[in-house]
């Protein structure tokens, strides 16, 4: 039996919507953590440039003593990874180009513009180069 999730609360729908935004600039190389081909024992060869994506609900304060909120807050976490430092930075730029100030629509509800929160610089990381960025939005 599929669990019933209220409108716009399904994290998978948010993940897919963000992935669709990223597809414009990054293409198909957007993966869940642990699902990158050629890593973690997955079949295939490691792409030279890719993005790892997670989207989680975040706490937003309630104006009500009961804790009820009429909006939900979300945080996008991206690792941009490349086989060279310039590659990794390029992927980082693709992520920025796709997400910065963009909006998504989940279950017919439009989000606020996606806002940049933090970025970590590209650094050597386990045989590759990677940096990370986080973004937030609400709907």
């Amino acid at each position: 039996m599929a669990a019933t999730v209220q409108p716009a609360l399904d994290a998978s729908a948010h993940w897919s919507a963000i992935k669709a935004l990223l597809a414009d600039t990054v293409g198909d190389d957007v993966y869940d953590y642990g699902k990158v081909p050629g890593a973690d024992g997955n079949p295939g060869t490691l792409p030279t440039a890719f993005v790892m994506l997670s989207v989680d609900r975040r706490f937003i304060p309630s104006g009500w003593l009961s804790g009820r909120t009429s909006a939900t807050g979300w945080r996008v976490f991206c690792h941009h990874v490349g086989n060279t430092a310039p590659n990794a930075r390029t992927v980082g730029n693709w992520v920025t180009a796709a997400l910065n100030e963009a909006r998504i629509t989940v279950d017919g509800i439009a989000s606020t513009p996606i806002t940049h929160e933090t970025t970590d610089p590209v650094a050597v990381d386990d045989g590759m180069f990677s940096g990370q960025s986080t973004w937030t939005y609400a709907l």
Partner: protein, 123 residues
């Protein structure tokens, strides 16, 4: 009919307002300190809860400091690898953003309570 005006009220007002700046520093510093400490505690809890065997002691690296009479900061101090720092090590590290989600609004709330009491002191 006569109207009697008592000017002493404005003298009280003047002395009350003179008390505001030092009171703000005193009470504001307390609120900043409490919120920095609460933020650090939260970030440590998240770090502890999420760390694997390699990051077991990482939470101790999250420290806090008062950087001025009305400003403070908390965050990782000097090295150590948080869980999720590398791309092979699981979904990224959000210990600090998650704690800021809670502390940001709480701090705004606490400091606006201080501002309220400055003009209407309880004593």
């Amino acid at each position: 009919m006569r109207v009697k005006v008592d000017y002493s009220g404005t003298r009280d007002l003047e002395s009350d307002m003179r008390k505001i700046p030092p009171a703000l520093v005193r009470q504001g510093a307390k609120v900043v300190k409490q919120n920095v400490a609460a933020g650090q505690r939260l970030a440590r809890q998240y770090a502890r809860q999420k760390s694997g065997p390699h990051g077991k002691s990482y939470y101790k690296r999250i420290t806090s400091d008062m950087t001025g009479p009305l400003s403070g900061e908390y965050g990782p101090h000097d090295g150590g690898t948080p869980v999720g720092a590398g791309w092979r090590h699981g979904a990224g590290n959000t210990d600090l953003p998650r704690s800021a989600d809670v502390i940001g609004p709480k701090f705004a709330d606490d400091i606006s309570k201080v501002l309220d009491t400055l003009f209407w002191p309880e004593s």
